[in-house]
Structures are given as C-alpha cells and as structure tokens.
Amino acid sequence: MSLLQVENLNKSFGGLMAVRNLSFSVEQGEIVGIIGPNGAGKTTSFGLMTGFLAPDAGSILFRGQPIQGKDPEEICRLGIFRTFQLAQSFPELTVKENVMIAALLHQPAVRLAEREAEKILARMGMAGKGAVQTRHLTIPEKKRLELAKGLATRPKVMLLDEVMAGLLPTEIDSAIRLIAELRSEGITFVVIEHVMRVIMSISDRIIVLHHGEKIADGTPKEVSTQPNVVEAYLGEDFLFA
C-alpha cells in the first residue's frame, strides 16, 4: 500500500481545468518532485491534498484512508504538512512563537513546545532569529520558517511548495542536505521546485504536470529525456547530459 495515493483527481476553477484526471502515488520514504510550467496545477494539487481546496472528483488516500474533502487542520493532524508558495506566518509574533505554536500540536505544555521550537530553530540555523518578529524576516528566511513550523508538527509527509526559490546556491546546498537528512529520519517528501538542479538531484522520482495533466512519471533521468516533457516544460534547447 502506498503512503499517499491520488486517484483521478479533478478540479476546475470556472471553465479552467486546473487538475485533470491526476493519479499518482508516493511511497514511504520517497522524495517525489513535481515539475511543470506555471499554471500546470502543481500548487492546486497541493491544495487538494491538504484540504484547502475540495476536489470536484477523485480520491486521495493516505495510508489507505480517504482524506479528500477533510479540513486542512485534520489533514495536518494525520501527518501531512504543506508549505505555502507565499510563506504564511503570524507576522506580529516572533519566529520562536511561530514554531512553538506549531509544536503545541504534540506538546502538552507551552514550556515544552517552546523548548522543542528552540531545538528546531537551532537545527535550521535560525537560533539567532528566535526573538525577531516574523514580519521582519527576509523571504528566504520566511521559507525556512515554513519548514521549521512543518517539522514542529512532526509530519509523516511534507509537501514543499518552492521552498528554495530565491535562495543562494550555498543555502540551496544546505537545504538539500537538510531534506536528505530528514528523509533518513523517515519523513516522505513531495517537492514542487523550479530550480532544476535541486529537483534533479534530490528526487527519486519526478512527476511532470502540464495543463493539469500528468505527462510523465519516472526517475529524473527517464523524465528529462522524454520528448513531450522536453517540449512542454524544459524547452527545446534544454540540454541534459
């Protein structure tokens, strides 16, 4: 049984089919990349998988249980955390409070949650930022905070929506290391990313979306050499060694 199984998912906004007959599965411990041009339905599928959007048709199974149509908070409680493309935080609260509030999901007391938040921030290299109001963070810092909050909810699956956009190359390297490390601790990842270097290097498998449909699903090597993928997304002049 797959950890996460999406079957024939459909979602349209007015006349636009944002996601069309989308099916794929994610196995325990995998890192699955999702790529596709703008408007391909990547973020929409995250919204559907986490209850922020209700599918028109289709099903989503998490550990064999249907979760489509459930509220976002219940889906988080089952162990699926998503980050937002535009990082969503509590702007007037401090960085530590943001993570602490997420940690309260599993911690019975504020003090314990605070301690866990400190640990997570240290791990993320944000220990010095704990007392800063979130609205003062830079965009890359806000994205790192998204990850920190996610970890505090102790997820089984993390859906990362372009957390590396805008990062410096060295920061990208450390983010990649972090994701690999977290995977070895048992967290499964589904990653939307535009930075090809990242997606090619971390993904076990890549799903390519185009106009809401899946046009490819395979290893980075398989996908990047598939002609329709090259045409749709990578561009004709894309050269993959």
């Binding site: 988080c76 998503r82 937002f84 509590f90 997420a102 309260l104 504020v110």
Partner: protein
C-alpha cells in the same frame, strides 16, 4: 503559567489594585466621583471581555451589547418573575449569553464569514435583540424593567451605598484581568493569536480554528453577560436601548482601541484614560453649547488613533505588555 510574565507586571498590577482597594476607605469621596470610578471599572471589565474575542482572536464584534443585555435581562427577569437570587440569575444569564454566542459564532464561522462580514452579523444580532426586547411586553417592552428594592444585602446584590458595588466590580475586573493574563500565556491564547494573525497558516499546522473561535466567543459572551447583571443591579433599571443598544457596543470597543487591542491591559488603560476624560469635557462643555463636548471627544479620538495606532500600550512597547525579557 503565572511565572512567565516579568515580575514588574505583577508588582505594578498589585500596586494599582491596592490603590483602588484603599481609595474609598482613605479618601472622602463624593457619590458622583464614586459613580465615575464604578463606571470606569465597569467599562474596563466589559472591554477586557470584548478583548478576548476581538483582541486576542481578532474577531471584531460590534454587537457585544447583545451579551450584556442578555445577562442584564435574564437575571432581572427571573428575579422579578420567580424571585430568583440575582447571583444565580447572573450565572444563568452568562450561560444563556454563551449559548447565544455559540449560535451566532457557529453560523458565522461555519459559513466562513470573516472580517467585516462577521462584524455585520454581530451588529445585526444585537439589533435584532434590541428590537425584540422593545416589543415584547412580557419583558417590559421599550420602557424596560425596574429592579425592585427588597432589602439591602450581599445575598440579594442590593445596596443603598455605592461602595459595595465599587468593590464588586473591582473584584470582577481583577479576576477578569488575571483570567486574560492566564489565557494570554497558555495554548488557548497562542492559538487565538495564531487565528488572528493568519487563519490559513493556523489550519495548516493542525489548529482546529472553528473550535477555538467558538470557545473565545463563548468565554467573551459569558464574561460580558456577568457585567450586564452587575449593571442591572447597580442602576436598578434596564431598558433595551441602554443594554442592547448600538451605542454600548461601540463604547465597549472604543476603550480597547484607544488602550491597545489584543494586549492584556490595553482595554483597562484605555478606559481609565478615556472615560474620565470624556466625563470631564462633558461637565465642562456640556452645559454651554449642546453637542460641543461630543465634537471635542470625537476630535480627541481621531488624534489618538493617528498618534497611537496601536493604542496607548503600543506607545510604551514592552513595558506594559507582559513579554518575557530575553
């Protein structure tokens, strides 16, 4: 959890409380001045109750008179009809107000009414009750209900002197502040702030937003209704306009806005500054040209909002809000 704030906060608060306790004992205070103090404490109390929902959780209600009115009417009506003890009526009124809060909260939150739409629902709800109570003769109609003076006793919540009322509302306010302080530093407080700051982010981290908003509404309504009974017992007279009216709802939220929305002491500080001031300009200017004191009052409010958009507490930053020092 009490140890989380800095000790200066508690020292300052205890000092202020002590002063207020000693006030009627040490000074020969006129009945009029005492009345002003009672009203300041009363509005501090109602504003703090509003602040739980409007300030901490960011769900701005402009219909809190609904809860005050339900409290005032429940205890008074039951006292008149079946002679029920007002203290018991007070609790029953608070429970009824909580249920009413849950009802409008559920309707609003279930249909995802946020921001201005929630504001409109609360206004409409209070107006409906005002109209309803004005037209039901059984409940006194537009002319209201009079609390009959039976005997002077704590048991019957009736006194000839204002002093006992002063101490009752002071106690209620003190308990309310400590409750708000406790909430502020517990899971509930953090969750409410998270909901205020960003509901989607809160849901994404597993917070059951609906439950917590309803809880905040019920608590806020409960406390407000207790205030309503106090008011009825203090003035011996209630009518739909004064306890359900739009004016009361506005007044309840003016003080937190001036003092600092979402802070533990903001509503209290706002009332202590603004209420006596309004009273002062009313007595100074009220007799001259009709309405001029209201114009001055309005101008001052505008000035405060421009100069201190985060309220008086915001001007002093961390000194008045019990942030931990680190």
């Amino acid at each position: 959890m009490m140890g989380r704030g800095n000790w200066k906060f508690f020292l300052g608060l205890s000092g202020a409380l002590l002063l207020l306790i000693l006030l009627p004992l040490t000074f020969k205070i006129s009945s009029y001045s005492l009345h002003i103090f009672i009203m300041v404490l009363y509005f501090s109390y109602l504003s703090s109750a509003w602040n739980l929902l409007g300030g901490f959780a960011g769900q701005h209600s402009i219909g809190h008179s609904a809860f005050v009115g339900l409290g005032a009417y429940t205890s008074t009506f039951l006292f008149l009809q079946i002679g029920l003890n007002p203290w018991i009526g007070m609790v029953l009124g608070a429970i009824l107000a909580s249920l009413a809060g849950l009802f409008i909260g559920f309707l609003s939150f279930h249909y995802r009414l946020r921001g201005l739409y929630f504001v409109l629902v609360t206004i409409a709800f209070a107006e409906i009750l005002a109209i309803l109570f004005s037209n039901i003769r059984f409940l006194g109609g537009a002319s209201g209900l009079v609390v009959p003076l039976k005997e002077e006793s704590l048991w019957l919540f009736q006194f000839r002197s204002k002093v006992p009322y002063y101490y009752i509302i002071l106690t209620m306010l003190a308990l309310n502040i400590f409750f708000c302080y406790w909430v502020r530093w517990t899971r509930l407080g953090y969750y409410l702030m998270a909901i205020r700051e960003n509901e989607d982010a809160a849901r994404a981290m597993g917070i059951r937003v609906m439950d917590y908003k309803l809880l905040a509404t019920a608590l806020s309504a409960f406390l407000s209704a207790l205030g309503g009974t106090f008011y009825a017992q203090y003035t011996y007279f209630i009518d739909p306009l004064t306890v359900f009216g739009f004016g009361l709802s506005i007044e309840i939220l003016i003080y937190p806005i001036v003092g600092g929305v979402g802070t533990v002491l903001g509503p209290v500080i706002g009332t202590f500054v603004l209420y006596p001031f309004a009273e002062l300009i009313r007595t100074l200017l009220g007799a001259r040209t009709a309405g001029i004191h209201l114009m001055v009052y309005g101008a001052i409010l505008v000035a405060i909002m421009i100069l201190a958009p985060r309220g008086i507490v915001g001007l002093f930053g961390k000194r008045f809000s019990p942030k931990k020092e680190k």
